[in-house]
């Protein structure tokens, strides 16, 4: 089946980098209206990829297509100003010599609007973002959050087909982060543009995106929905990047389809499980059990049937929930439960609700 609307962004066999590829063999398609999060640690090539899509770096290999037309290929690069891309930069990149109003009017001026019309359009965008009171200020007179919202307003003024966000909240505190995230989601739903959002924050990526592209060691490690990258990571690196986890070292025997029996100390438990694909190369000798903090539960009584043994060694209250670190014969497991602490350090019974079986990583 052939889709009638071309992808907003599509990368094929793409390698980007400065001299040496920092990302290679990348295939990624973003549909109109879709948000894809690029999740990776610093240095994983997120920013380089965004710069490639924006047209600031020519690819070393492969192609970038925008709205069904080739935009970048080795030695051939559509200039950035003709790509209909709006970018929000990590360090805001606000022009120090222009006021907020002139900054937001800038893309409109470049699109050919008269000065008055551009100011009027900019004024309207600033009103939408509740920034009208800052119109005459210079970037130096704005707080970090205000600067980032002005950066967002400027990207909106480009009326782009694709938004690129380069860790826009990296320098902001938690509450501003949430506010910017909401604003981004609302904007995108309003105008139906595609968005690519680079971040190193798993929570942000999972909350914002329709799909998450996990980047590490110079390649696209996994591309899936937020629920899938969280629950079914392909390897341990992806698992670590996408949220908190525990790894248990326990013998596994297959039970019914989609279920496995896991032996922890003297006790056996059978839980729904999925298995990660085996990596190429020598078959790993054993599997490890990956447990997300919400996949296990503390039992209220010490003698629950089928419950597993353990000892709470550490309790961390985190506001909406509490983290319990439980030492078990198979290793420490992190269990997250809602509300303030309701157990004390000491012996405890716990049960496993589900598990992901991972091929063990090669010895380093």
């Amino acid at each position: 089946m052939v889709s009638l609307t071309p992808d907003a962004v599509s990368c094929a066999g793409l390698a980007v980098g400065y001299g040496r590829p920092s990302l290679a063999g990348l295939d990624l398609a973003v549909a109109p209206g879709e948000t894809v999060a690029l999740l990776g640690s610093s240095g994983s090539g997120k920013t380089t990829l965004l710069n490639g899509i924006a047209g600031f770096v020519a690819p070393l290999a492969g192609e970038i297509w925008l709205a069904g037309a080739v935009a970048s290929a080795p030695g051939r690069c559509l200039p950035p100003e003709r790509r209909r891309i709006g970018m929000v930069f990590q360090d805001h990149a606000l022009w120090p010599h222009l006021s907020v109003l002139d900054t937001v009017a800038y893309p409109l001026r470049r699109a050919g609007a008269s000065k008055a019309a551009a100011h009027k359009g900019a004024q309207a965008i600033l009103e939408q973002l509740n920034l009208s009171s800052l119109a005459q200020r210079r970037p130096g007179q704005l707080s970090g959050g205000e600067q980032q919202r002005v950066g967002l307003a400027r990207a909106l003024a480009c009326q782009p087909a694709v938004y690129l966000f380069d860790e826009p909240t990296a320098h902001l505190d938690a509450s501003l982060r949430a506010a910017i995230g909401e604003e981004v989601a609302r904007r995108r739903h309003a105008d139906g543009a595609a968005a690519i959002y680079a971040t190193h924050d798993a929570a942000e990526a999972l909350a914002l995106a329709d799909r998450v592209a996990v980047l590490h060691s110079g390649r696209l490690a996994q591309l899936a929905s937020p629920a899938d990258v969280y629950a079914e990571p392909d390897d341990l690196t992806v698992a670590r990047l996408t949220g908190p986890l525990s790894i248990l070292d326990a013998p596994i025997t297959p039970a019914a389809p989609g279920k496995s029996t896991i032996t922890i100390g003297p006790t056996q438990t059978t839980v729904p499980s999925t298995t990660a694909p085996a990596p190429a190369g020598p078959t790993p000798a054993a599997s490890a059990v990956l447990v997300r903090p919400d996949w296990a539960r503390l039992e209220r009584s010490l003698d629950g049937s089928g419950a597993l043994p353990g000892t709470i060694t550490e309790i961390r209250f985190r506001g909406p929930h509490t983290d319990y670190y439980v030492a078990t014969p198979a290793g420490t497991v992190l269990i997250r439960e809602a509300g303030p602490p309701h157990a004390d350090c000491g012996p405890v019974r716990w049960s496993l609700l589900r598990a992901r079986l991972m091929p063990r990583e090669h010895q380093r």
């Binding site: 770096v57 790509r83 800038y106 470049r110 003024a157 480009c158």
Partner: protein, 590 residues
């Protein structure tokens, strides 16, 4: 019993009060002492500025004012002075426009792209700075003038070389690197590539970005560069002297020199002080307000960001490379090569082929006390190179807070005052004690080049994170130890740089030396100029080579070392303080 206890406790309380009071008094005394020391230090710096800058200027003004308003008017409106003022303003303005335009264009073309050839291109642009003005002017006359190399080889001479066109061309060669360096620094400090990228994705083309983002961001460095170029061109003596005087084209500095050298009347002396003072006013009008304004702007603390990646623009790259190479060859390489050939060739009319080579010109040049003058120049330059960074560090370290701006401006103005005017002022102010001595020349050097000891040290000091000394103090260092262990080491490279710069400038100095020297205190540059006056072309060329060669060699070595250290320092993202720690300039201590 009770009474005894009470008495005891009372005594204790009294003793406690006494110790507290004593402690407070000690603290107060210490604070007062520190304040007094600081005040004394500030007074010392201000006093030195007064002695080196204010006294000469006031002396100049006193003599000029002695002529009365009509005298001043007559001196300024006389045909000679009027023409010289007009020439100076026209030449300096033209040079400023040409140098800033070309320097900006080249900096934008070269500095925004990665590439290994950038160092060579930078050297091609900035290289002429290490050639003394007089030497380059003389070398141009030998290369492109009548009976010069190009004339003899191809029958080509540069039209107007002796006159305004030649003066403007050579002065532009000196102004261009100043503008280039200012724009380069501005690009690194202000023009974050993300700002230009934001404009590109906002729909602006390459040229629109240049017009609406890059150039506006560079406004301040460009203004500063323009002022600096104007001041340098207006105050230049050597180039107009060697290329203008033979054609009867006078500027204010050459008028001052020739009046001083060739007329003995006191009326003429008053006239020349008026012209010198007018030159000072001209330069201060161009620079003074700007420097005060710039001093108020906070230094931008933006970290250096990676350069914009170029998308395949090799064709443009090649064109820029060819332009810079052709320019460097025409402006510096061919004239300097001609100079060397002239120095090695037996007679002025002979072709510079090996059959005609000789070292006799060097012997002739050094026959009349040239060797002693060379040693004298080296000694003077060394003294200035030691004193200027120390005084510069004093200004940078002591003058803080509200003193900072005015003191820095005072030091800068000392440089901006044209050498001719400063030298005449120093003669009037200190001549009755020091006339014709080496000391008076050294005094002039320190006054003029103080700013080069100050600026690098101040810049290095501004780059230090504010917490450094506090952290050292909390780690147990006394104030002096803190300064010695954590502030001075990162400043050492800046002070060495300053010393090297001052040495070169002082070694090459001609303008003030020609006015201040007496019998037996000629500097080497003065000997060369006098040799040229006598018409000994070969001997002049030989001495000019000797004056230029050591500095070029040291400059090449320093460039190589900094290039090495910057290259090795670029890899790990380290704090700027330690950046200079790498490489040979400054070996790391174990």
């Amino acid at each position: 019993m009770r009474a005894a206890t009470e008495a005891k406790s009372a005594a204790k309380a009294a003793a406690a009060a006494k110790t507290t009071a004593a402690k407070a008094a000690v603290a107060k005394a210490a604070a007062a002492k520190a304040a007094a020391a600081k005040a004394a230090a500030v007074a010392l710096v201000v006093g030195l500025i007064a002695a080196l800058v204010a006294v000469p200027l006031v002396s100049l003004a006193r003599i000029a004012a002695g002529a009365g308003p009509t005298g001043i008017w007559r001196a300024l409106s006389g045909p000679q002075a009027r023409v010289a003022i007009l020439h100076t303003v026209a030449v300096a303005a033209t040079v400023t426009v040409l140098a800033v335009a070309a320097g900006t264009a080249l900096a934008l073309a070269i500095e925004r792209r990665p590439g290994r050839r950038r160092l060579a291109l930078r050297l091609g642009v900035a290289g002429p700075l290490v050639i003394p003005e007089f030497v380059l002017g003389f070398a141009w006359s030998q290369a492109y003038g009548p009976a010069g190399l190009s004339d003899r080889l191809a029958g080509l001479t540069m039209p107007g070389l002796f006159g305004p066109a030649g003066i403007i061309a050579v002065l532009t060669v000196y102004g261009l690197p100043l503008a280039y360096l200012a724009v380069t620094a501005g690009l690194a400090a202000r023009a974050d590539p993300a700002l230009e990228r934001a404009a590109r994705s906002a729909g602006a083309g390459r040229w629109t970005v240049l017009r609406t983002v890059t150039l506006p961001l560079l406004r301040v460095p460009l203004l500063a560069a323009a002022a600096l170029v104007f001041v340098t061109a207006a105050g230049s003596f050597a180039v107009p002297q060697v290329l203008g005087t033979p054609a009867g084209f006078a500027t204010m500095p050459t008028l001052v020199y020739n009046d001083l050298a060739f007329s003995a009347s006191s009326a003429a002396f008053t006239g020349l002080t008026v012209v010198a003072l007018a030159l000072v006013v001209l330069v201060l009008l161009a620079l003074g307000p700007l420097d005060l304004w710039l001093a108020r702007l906070r230094p931008s603390a933006r970290p250096e960001s990676p350069l914009t990646a170029s998308t395949a623009r090799t064709a443009v790259d090649h064109v820029v490379t060819v332009i810079v190479c052709a320019y460097a060859a025409f402006a510096a390489a061919i004239p300097m090569l001609t100079l060397v050939l002239t120095a090695l060739t037996r007679g002025p009319g002979l072709l510079p082929v090996p059959a005609n080579w000789t070292l006799a010109n060097f012997g002739a040049g050094f026959s009349g006390g040239g060797g002693v003058a060379l040693l004298r120049s080296a000694g003077l330059a060394l003294a200035a190179a030691i004193l200027a960074p120390l005084l510069g560090a004093a200004v940078a370290g002591l003058a803080r807070g509200r003193w900072r701006g005015p003191v820095a401006t005072g030091v800068t103005l000392a440089y901006a005052i044209p050498g001719s005017a400063l030298a005449v002022g120093i003669i009037i102010g200190y001549g009755r004690w020091l006339d014709g001595s080496v000391t008076i020349i050294g005094l002039a050097y320190v006054a003029k080049f103080w700013v080069f000891g100050h600026r690098p040290v101040q810049a290095a000091l501004d780059r230090l994170p504010p917490g450094l000394t506090r952290a050292a103090r909390l780690s147990g260092a006394r104030p002096a130890t803190a300064v010695r262990t954590v502030v001075l080491p990162p400043l050492r490279v800046a002070m060495l740089t300053a010393a090297g710069l001052v040495f070169i400038l002082a070694f090459h100095e001609l303008t003030m030396s020609t006015i201040l020297y007496g019998p037996g205190t000629e500097t080497f540059a003065v000997v060369i100029m006098n040799q040229q006056d006598l018409g000994g072309v070969g001997a002049t060329a030989a001495l000019a080579v000797v004056l230029t060669a050591p500095v070029v060699a040291v400059g090449a070595l320093a460039t190589w070392l900094t290039h090495r250290s910057s290259r090795s320092a670029r890899r790990p993202p380290i704090t700027p303080i330690f950046r200079n720690d790498r490489g040979l300039t400054y070996p790391r201590r174990r």
